[in-house]
Point group: C2
Chain length 150, copies 2
DNA sequence: GTATATGCAAAGGGTTTGCACGGTT
DNA sequence: AACCGTGCAAACCCTTTGCATATAC
């Protein structure tokens, strides 16, 4: 998959700058990456890039449909490539691990909500809290609640 | 419902200060209230109360099980009384309205997640994005995305 | 060459923390 | 008297914004 970022940007009237392509690389490479993590990745190749640029680039990449973001937990949103099928994010409140599942697990649920409320839910856009298998088995956990994203 | 706040606080070794009872009142009265909104409510009766106190009080009230919070949208978390049955929060990305539904709408979904991932999901803890019935019908919407909580 | 992007630095919103005072027990 | 809780102010994190410079087209 991974569409040609430069081409997509041009098609929307944007310039394909090194920064934009690097940020897109980062989003492709890292999964569920926060702006901060993306910056760290980009810095390996281009140490001069600024965090504010990352924010602005992400906004552009999202507006042209190359990436999307999801709110997982309390911290920064995480960005991921927008091509593949939508998936849900599950964040463990114990260890902070994030797991994914194809979004179709939620269709029945979404239909029930639509039927009861007339509300068209987009379950994929927000992370879901809970405890992962490992932490369910383990006794005391690392982080009692929240914790940073990713 | 609405348990006796003072009694519960005492039972846990906390003092039942006016501030704590006022904050609890606010959470009972306002539904899905943010710390800022709670402060506004409390200020009507006690203008001297500080926002940091609201944060600290909410932490205490949550620790003794009187209130819980949920992350609805990007902004501040919202607090609600913890007595009644858990409910899910649906935030409309169009108008910002928040609707609720009993948490049992999600049990099938949660079971599916558990079966596939071993992950015990707590769907009630995070708000779910989507479009409400009104905004589905309406053409252009007020807020394109996010927007403040509640 | 020109409009767009970037880097930098400062500002802004939300939340947390240190500290001394005030109120309960 | 001892302690817990509060108000105040400062600090912190994350994100946005203004402005001058650099760059892709």
């Amino acid at each position: 998959m991974t569409p040609d970022g430069a081409e997509v940007l041009h098609r929307h009237g944007y310039r394909a700058t090194p920064q934009r392509l690097l940020v897109l690389d980062a989003v492709v490479e890292l999964r569920h990456a926060t702006p901060e993590q993306i910056l760290a990745y980009v810095h390996r190749r281009a140490p001069a890039v600024n965090l504010s640029t990352v924010y602005r680039v992400l906004e552009v990449l999202e507006s042209v449909g190359l990436v999307s973001h999801a709110h997982i937990g309390t911290g920064s949103p995480t960005y991921h490539v927008a091509d593949g099928p939508a998936h849900l994010h599950f964040r463990c409140t114990g260890c902070g691990r994030v797991q994914s599942l194809p979004a179709d697990v939620a269709v029945e649920f979404e239909e029930a909500v639509l039927a009861r409320l007339g509300f068209a839910a987009d379950v994929a856009h927000t992370g879901i809290y809970g405890r992962c298998a490992d932490c369910l088995a383990a006794p005391g956990a690392a982080t009692p609640d929240d914790g940073g994203p990713t």
